[in-house]
C-alpha cells in the first residue's frame, strides 16, 4: 500500500527577470520518506525550497501540502501546517539562550499570545517548555540549554537549528544544506543523526549540494539542474544516470570545506 502523499508539487516555476530559477518542476513526497534534493550550485535548490515554504511566491504551478494548496500562504501559515525548515546560512537567534532559541519553534506551533503572557498561562508555558526540552534532548544539546546561542560552535549551531525546527513538531522537515561547512567526521555524525530522525518516524527532505551525504542515507533522490528536475529515483539509479553525470561533470567532487 502506498503511503499518503504529503507534499505535491505540480508544474512549479519561478522566474526572476529573464532567469527561470525553477522550471516546471513536478514532484511529490510521501509520508515517512527520506528524500534528497541535489543539484550543482545555482541549480535552483534554494529557490525551490523557498517556493515550497512560502518565502517566495511561484510564477506558476502549485504546491499542495497535506491536501492544502499553499498559494498565497505566508511562511508562518505554512509552518503551522506542519512544515519546518532550517536555513542554508545558519540562522539562529544569537542573543538568546539555546533553550530560548528552541522554544520559539514550540511557541510558533502551540501559540503563546499577548493574553497568555499577561495572564501567565502556566499550562501553556509548561507545554512549550516540555516540547523545547524534548527537542533539545533529541539533538543532544540539553546540557547547553542556558548558554547564549552566540557562544556555540558552528557544528552545534546546526543542531540548534534542527532542534528549533523539531520543536514545531513538523510533519515534514526540510533541511537546507545541513552538511555545508562540516568536516567528514561531522558529516558522518550528521548522517547518522538524520537517519535516526527518519527512523523515529519523520518525513525529511534533505536539500544538499554535496552528493555523498544524500546518496548514503536517502531512499530517493531528486536532481535539479538549471531549474529543471532531471532525475528522480533511487540513489544507485541516479548515480548511474548519464544525464545526472553530465550535469555534475567536472564538478562532482568540488570544494567541500
Amino acid at each position: 500500500m502506498m503511503a499518503d502523499v504529503l507534499l505535491e508539487i505540480t508544474a512549479l516555476s519561478r522566474q526572476f527577470g529573464g532567469l527561470r530559477a525553477v522550471d516546471d518542476v513536478t514532484a511529490e513526497i510521501r509520508q515517512g520518506e527520506l528524500v534528497g534534493l541535489i543539484g550543482p550550485n545555482g541549480a535552483g535548490k534554494t529557490t525551490l525550497f523557498n517556493l515550497i515554504s512560502g518565502f517566495t511566491p511561484p510564477s506558476s504551478g502549485s504546491v499542495v501540502f497535506r491536501g492544502q494548496n499553499l498559494a498565497g500562504m505566508k511562511p508562518h501559515q505554512v509552518s503551522r501546517l506542519g512544515m519546518a525548515r532550517t536555513f542554508q546560512n545558519l540562522r539562529i537567534f544569537p542573543n538568546m539562550t539555546v533553550f530560548d532559541n528552541v522554544s520559539v519553534g514550540a511557541v510558533g506551533a502551540l501559540g503563546y499570545g499577548l493574553r497568555h503572557g499577561l495572564l501567565a498561562d502556566a499550562k501553556r508555558a509548561e507545554a512549550i517548555s516540555a516540547r523545547a526540552w524534548n527537542a533539545l534532548e533529541r539533538v543532544g544539546l540539553a546540557d547547553l540549554a542556558g548558554e547564549l546561542a552566540a557562544n556555540l560552535s558552528y557544528g552545534k549551531r546546526k543542531y540548534l537549528e534542527i532542534a528549533r525546527a523539531l520543536a514545531t513538531d513538523p510533519v515534514l522537515l526540510i533541511l537546507d544544506e545541513p552538511a555545508a561547512g562540516l568536516n567528514d567526521t561531522e558529516t558522518a555524525e550528521l548522517a547518522h543523526f538524520i537517519k535516526r530522525l527518519h527512523a523515529d518516524g519523520g518525513t525529511i527532505l534533505l536539500v544538499e549540494h554535496d552528493m555523498g551525504l544524500v546518496m548514503s542515507i536517502c531512499q530517493r533522490v531528486m536532481v535539479l539542474a538549471s531549474g529543471a528536475k532531471i532525475a528522480d529515483a533511487a540513489p544507485n539509479e541516479v548515480q548511474a544516470d548519464p544525464v545526472v553525470l553530465e550535469a555534475y561533470l567536472g564538478i562532482d567532487d568540488e570544494e567541500d570545506a
Binding site: S53, F55, K74, P75, H76, S79, R80, A84, R85, F87, R91, F93, P94, N95, M96, T97, F99, D100, N101, S103, V104, G105, A106, V107, G108, A109, Y112, G113, L114, H116, G117, L118, A120, A122, R124, A125, E126, I128, S129, A132, W133, A145, G146, L148, R164, A165, A167, T168
Partner: protein, 333 residues
C-alpha cells in the same frame, strides 16, 4: 522547595515596599514637596521607558516618536477632564485607548518596513503629533496649553497633593512594570526577541511577525498614553512643549543607558536620567554637561547598558522565580 518558592514572592513584596514605603519616606526626609515632584516625574518616565523598552529593546523596533504617544494620552485625558468633566478613573484608560488606537493606525502600514524606515516613520509621526498639538488651536489651545486640569480624585478620595500624586504615579508605574515584566519574561518575550534577532526565521517557526509587532507597539503606546494621563492630572497644566522629539530621545537614552531589552535597566536608566540633573543642581549650568558625560561614559564602558538584557533575564529567572527550571535557568513559567 517550599522555602525556595516563597523567596521570589518575598522579593517582589520587597520591591513594592521600597516603592510605596522606603522611597516616599526618604522623599519626606529630604524635604517634602519638590522631591515628591521629582519622584512623580521619575515614575512617569519609568513608565514611559519600560513601555518603549518592550517595543524597541525586546522586539527591536526603533521608535523615535514615543513622546508623541505620551502627548496624545496627556491631551486625551486633559481634554476629557476639562471639557467633559470625566473623572480620573475614566480619563486614565481612555488616554491609553486613544494612544493605542493611534499606535495601531501608525503601525498597520509601517510594520512591514525594515527597521530603519520604521524608525524614520515614527520620527515623522512624533513630529506630526507635536505640530498638531501646537497648531490645532481650536481643539488643543495650541501653544497656550491646557490649564486647570482637575487634580486626581479616586472614588471621593482627594489625591491632589504631591504625595497623593506620587502614590498614583507609583501604582501606575508598578502596573506597567508588571505588565511589561510578564510580557518580556515569558514565551511572549521570547517570540518578540526572536523577531528582533531574525524575523524571517521567526516566521518560519510559525510566528506572525506583522501581527506580533503591531500588538507590541499598541501595548507600548497604550502604556505611554496612560503615563500621559498621570502627567496631565499631576501637573495640572500641559502644553505641546513637553512632547517633542527631545523627550522621545530622552526616553530612548534611558533604555539605552539602562540596557536595551532589560526591564530593570529601563527603570534604573530612567530614574538616573531624571534624578541626576536634580542632584547636580548645585553645579548650575554644568549639570547637563555632567549628565551628558555620564551617558557617554556609561555607553563607552557598558555598551550593553548598566544592566544588560542577558543579566536582566537571568535575574528574572533566578530572583523572581520566572524560570521553568530554575536549576538550569531555562524556559519560562
Amino acid at each position: 522547595m517550599a522555602v525556595n518558592a516563597s523567596k521570589p514572592l518575598l522579593r517582589q513584596l520587597g520591591l513594592l515596599a521600597v516603592l510605596f514605603g522606603a522611597i516616599p519616606a526618604a522623599l519626606t526626609l529630604i524635604g517634602g514637596g519638590y522631591p515628591f515632584q521629582v519622584g512623580i516625574t521619575a515614575l512617569i518616565f519609568v513608565t514611559l521607558a519600560v513601555s518603549l523598552n518592550l517595543v524597541t529593546g525586546t522586539a527591536g523596533l526603533l521608535s523615535l516618536g514615543h513622546a508623541g504617544f505620551f502627548g496624545v494620552g496627556a491631551y486625551a485625558a486633559a481634554l476629557t477632564a476639562t471639557k467633559l468633566h470625566w473623572p480620573f478613573l475614566l480619563t486614565l484608560p481612555f488616554a491609553g485607548l486613544v494612544a493605542a488606537a493611534l499606535g495601531v493606525i501608525v503601525a498597520l502600514p509601517t510594520m512591514r518596513l525594515i527597521s530603519i524606515y520604521f524608525a524614520v516613520a515614527t520620527l515623522g509621526v512624533g513630529e506630526m503629533i507635536h505640530v498638531s498639538l501646537l497648531n490645532w488651536v481650536s481643539f488643543t489651545r495650541g501653544p497656550m496649553g491646557i490649564r486647570s486640569i482637575p487634580p486626581i480624585e479616586i472614588l471621593g478620595f482627594d489625591l491632589s497633593g504631591v504625595v497623593g500624586g506620587y502614590y498614583v504615579a507609583a501604582v501606575v508605574a508598578a502596573l506597567a512594570i508588571f505588565a511589561v515584566h510578564r510580557l518580556t519574561h515569558s514565551y511572549y518575550g521570547n517570540a518578540l526577541r526572536s523577531l528582533r534577532e531574525d524575523d524571517q526565521c521567526a516566521a518560519a517557526m510559525g510566528l506572525n511577525p506583522v501581527r506580533l509587532k503591531i500588538e507590541a507597539f499598541a501595548v507600548s503606546c497604550a502604556i505611554a498614553g496612560i503615563a500621559g494621563a498621570v502627567y496631565a492630572h499631576t501637573a495640572s497644566f500641559i502644553s505641546p512643549d513637553s512632547f517633542r522629539f527631545e523627550e522621545s530621545i530622552l526616553i530612548l537614552a534611558m533604555i539605552v543607558v539602562g540596557g536595551l531589552g532589560s526591564v530593570p535597566g529601563a527603570i534604573v536608566g530612567s530614574v538616573l536620567l531624571i534624578v541626576l540633573p536634580e542632584v547636580l543642581r548645585g553645579i548650575g549650568d554644568f549639570r547637563m554637561i555632567a549628565v551628558g558625560v555620564f551617558m557617554f561614559l556609561s555607553i563607552l564602558f557598558l555598551p550593553k547598558g548598566l544592566l544588560g538584557e542577558a543579566s536582566a533575564i537571568g535575574l528574572a529567572r533566578r530572583q523572581l522565580g520566572a524560570a521553568w527550571r530554575g536549576d538550569i535557568g531555562a524556559g519560562w513559567k
